[in-house]
Symmetry: D2
Subunit: 384 residues, 4 copies
């Protein structure tokens, strides 16, 4: 913690600052400049976190030196260079989808689960095209209370059924702390949506779940705040956290949101957690999904979460940004070259049936991981 005083600070005010620092167990290093005094606090500055130093008379600015996220930070890791691999499907017996490994993780599916047939067809199509997990919303956050709010519990059952038949782990959004326990018993990954990134009651609850959490960046959340939200989940005991950049809100109206592609290398430098990108919500239009997906992988993302629908013009939500099966297939074909350029592989392509025959086949197909990526592998449950 560094404290900069106002130019005209009174001696008594200055002494009061020193007193507060020392009371917290830190040592104050004082540099008297020509106009201001700079006080460096040496010791564990977290002891000062709840001390409102900026409210003390004579204080102009207070600047933290250390990162307030500890569990999410690379700095505190034994192997700071490694990315943590989070595995979806460990408990359900689905074909494991590794997020954070050398192979890209591609999670695809409809915005909302709308019925058995559309879900089954979509799962088959995305698996065939190389996706490694299925997304689908049973509970939908909608801006309007009059819009379709999702199928609810029956939607979750459909996800479980389709997982059983296709082997794809399933990801679905949780919106209410009261749903966490029951949803965690069904899905392979709990998605926390952008609007709930700082819903601390929900974060605390998913922090007690045994399944991985896919945490989307809030519309106006800084990278730092995203990491603090992850820290909430990690600090409650759930180490299986996947971060997701999905566009932030800016003044630009040509796109639904502004994909902050630089967040990918920034996160890569700050945290060991894997990072996905959602090009569907970022651009908000089907025509933008592929170029944003290529850009995300080129910038170092560990994979994608993409909206795909049998007939976007009939979708009950997000039709404008959903890909058709054919568009998704075409994107996946082109993605291969970008993945290779980024030193990554396309995970499940063509590995579908093989993966069903044995638990570890899916993992084995990943080949030898790059040394720099061979971090800890986590995925929920005792198996992790």
């Amino acid at each position: 913690m560094i404290i900069i005083t106002k130019p005209d600070i009174a001696p008594s005010a200055f002494d009061a600052i020193l007193e507060r620092i020392e009371r917290a167990g830190l040592v104050a290093h004082v540099s008297r400049g020509t106009e201001r005094i700079v006080i460096g606090c040496v010791g564990d500055e977290r002891a000062l976190e709840d001390v409102p130093l900026a409210a003390l008379p004579g204080v102009d600015r207070v600047m933290p030196v250390l990162k307030p996220y500890r569990l999410a930070s690379r700095e505190t890791r034994a192997a700071p260079e490694a990315t943590t691999e989070v595995v979806l499907g460990v408990e359900s017996g689905a074909d494991p989808c590794v997020v954070g490994g050398r192979a890209l993780a591609i999670i695809a599916g409809p915005c909302s689960v709308e019925g058995r047939e559309m879900l089954h067809d979509t799962a088959g199509a995305v698996r065939g095209a190389g996706a490694s997990a299925l997304r689908g919303g049973a509970y939908k956050p909608r801006t309007s209370p009059y819009a379709f709010q999702g199928m609810g519990a029956p939607g979750l059952e459909l996800l479980a059924d389709v997982r059983a038949s296709t082997g794809l782990p399933v990801v679905s959004e949780v919106m209410d702390p009261r749903q966490v326990e029951s949803m965690a018993g069904v899905v392979d990954c709990l998605q926390v949506g952008a609007r709930n990134m700082q819903n601390f009651a929900l974060l605390a609850e998913v922090g007690t779940a045994r399944v991985p959490v896919l945490l989307k960046r809030g519309l106006s959340a800084t990278v730092h705040e995203l990491l603090m939200a992850a820290e909430y989940v990690l600090s409650r005991g759930n180490p299986h956290v996947i971060l997701c950049e999905r566009g932030i809100r800016t003044f630009e109206t040509a796109t639904r949101n502004t994909l902050d592609v630089a967040a990918i290398p920034v996160l890569r430098a700050e945290t060991h957690l894997p990072v996905l990108v959602d090009p569907s919500h970022a651009g908000g239009k089907a025509a933008l999904v592929a170029p944003l997906a290529y850009a995300a992988i080129a910038a170092g993302a560990d994979g994608l979460i993409v909206e795909v629908h049998p007939d976007p013009s009939a979708a009950r939500s997000d039709g404008e940004q959903s890909l058709t099966f054919e568009q998704f297939r075409a994107m996946m074909v082109h993605l291969g070259a970008f993945a290779a350029a980024a030193g990554r592989t396309m995970g499940h392509v063509g590995a579908g049936s093989a993966a069903r025959s044995g638990v570890v086949a899916g993992r084995g197909a990943l080949g030898v991981a790059l040394p720099a990526r061979s971090g800890s592998r986590t995925g929920g449950g005792a198996a992790a």
Copy 2:
């Protein structure tokens, strides 16, 4: 709904659009321009809300004509010019605090409830200076999981105790749908914080409560989205909604947030719901609270919610932006002239003891409301 086609739309695609409009029971009015076709949809366009028109081939843009908020809108009111008055304290027997009347509603108190003595002292001080309700957080949303998270239930008890001794209705933030029922039995107003403005599970739950809801604008929420969030609460049956502008997130770093003072007249034109302003969170510094408060009242706000603490330099949260008792008193004194300039009165000043002597005294002290403001008065429970 207006649909604008792409320049080169195929006849079959054009016919498909018309078919979707007519299937929803609307009539299509077609204007063929030199380059594009414009289709106006006449009828109840809400029937098209779940139709992804923008995903249809050949469609360039889709623009709604009607406002999607119905209950929050002025347009659908019998007396569209009136502001709805929301009354805090109806059920608890506190001195009623009317939000949306001619008298300004000033809600003041500490960020967090930290103990009995500090709360009692603050309540006395703010009441003496003219506040009409007490704020105080028992559950605190904090960016860091390691920061003070509030006293919890014992904090709520302290609020109830202090209400009993001072007559001030109490406002406290609810963060979890599981807390709604119990908190609604204690406090006079449930605050939904900025980070939860689109926590739809929470909005739905407070929509079933009998006490008023103070809904803060999200950090990156448009005015339109704030009204849609209010619509969630209203559509669940709770008509007692107070809106609160508290600053939005922009690129400017000189202040914690950017107070969107224009949101006040914009909301005034769009909705009958009353509008408060939180100058403490908007500016983030004690020195900015008073000028922002004056600006808010000058722009037409119905009142303020302000952080006040016996010793900001010892506050466990938000110390930098909390006013001392003396600073709050000074602000309230100056506020009177701005209130008068805006055609408003300062509510409770000097009415403290009188108000305790009878349930309606507080209201009577408001004098004859301006005709333009004599809207419906709501406040929860049968008494409203």
Copy 3:
């Protein structure tokens, strides 16, 4: 300057940092923390301005301690509490308009000068309602090259004519450094528009002019950058700078821009330069002008610049946000009470003819300035 190192900095890299600091003539104070090293640089840190310390190996962050604006800063003033008064009309013999005095400065007029009659009528109307200067664009910055670009030089002549007949000093926007000299010979104040706030060639040129400069904040400029732009003008020798908050660009689309009302008290604390507000461009709609004007004065602005047109529905630019004469008069009437509440007076109301009778009468009519405001008075030319 404070330098924070990375956790794993090499000793040689650390020594290189110290060497750079000392080579610039400063003294390094080193605090070794548990994880990082903090280096405070004592001395004139401006010597380090062109040293790319952040590019040195092992450096994590560099934070300046001192404000980089010197001439604009309060800190370097002999009387740091005073506001500099900038006077419009000193050289032209117009009735002086003091910006930064106790009386509010109200600059009003059409967006564009469109012809003699409309300008004359508007000048008469705004003067009658209490305005103290006339605005009018001869050169117009327009987003589209196909839109009306202003009357050019003939428009300036019309402004001079109307000044002669009404006594109102005139303000007009300069867009091109080649126009500065000729325009400065005609108008009483050169306006630098928001889009040109960081047009450094233009800033340098108006910095050599003898007339005051009205510098509008850029659409995405921080308060800090606005002060740096003012510093450009001041450092070239022109001390007559007026700052103007006119709304910033955010995600909100309900208004043309977002008025950053908090910038007023922030600027008040940072700089001795006077601060105006442009409620017309901030809100972008006529209905928002008055509430934003009241808010600006309540927050401490020294005055307003407002668009007024004889018939906004026929205006060649900015019709949507221009007030009619009647709307302007009504606003000025209400503004009086807000001015009084803010400890200010309405300047020229009713002082029109008297002011014409002598050069100093206009100033005398301002009454005794508040001690705290009696700063230096500047206005261009030898007379200042």
Copy 4:
């Protein structure tokens, strides 16, 4: 143009709207809805551009149907699918650098020209690594008037000298309309910086120059405004315009700006002009340059403009974001695979000496352009 009325519009106000539309030579199509009236204006809506329809009584909203950029738009092109190729170096006899062809255009060099040796060394290094043009600022826009403002005219001479010895066309920023003529006689491309994107006097002036213009997106400019700025240049007669995305200003502080990578496909769909990306200013840190460059090419950019310096820790400007020679080389090596994945080639690599032997060799080395990209080729002067 579509006009939506307020619910309660008076018949006389409605008639007045129709009268204005018809006076402008358009035909009004009226759709009476249940609550509002929608008026479609059929004809050339540009005739309504200067009519302040939104200021008419009873009008709620006005929405344009057509794009206001005509020359920049794909829609008005004979071959709407083609990208215009802009060639740097046509008049100076440098090795031509084609921007918008199949080969990527990589413009690299120091932020500021600081001296002969550093410029020569940098030119050699970037050419050797595959760059096709040299950047270098002689006039520098700096936030602080006290910072290094560039070498000025001597810097331009150094650029010309280094072009002569290396064959690389040179790009340099122009800040003042008075510099345009002389700079256009020296450099191969005039850069208009982000802060001057809406400096209309400068845009008009470069619109009369014979050399290409590299137009950078403003910090808070929408894609639409960038295209309107290009339209200024095009409408003055200079068809050689290159657009450049360089990051926009948002709330995120982890990066200097936020690279709006989606602007690339959005611009690709809207305009035939080529699009470069500046990853140096977007991220603001050397470590972010490569991942952002890869993302830009993956999203479809036509090339890059990158800051490279012999010793970033000694650079007089932008040291923190400049690459060393070695970093640049490494980036270029990896870029090849991303270029191939995007269907592009790396232009000049290894073609350096050959290109010097004949004027057209550089172009010939590009091979047969893809049919979809074989648009018009422009580059200034008669030779284009």
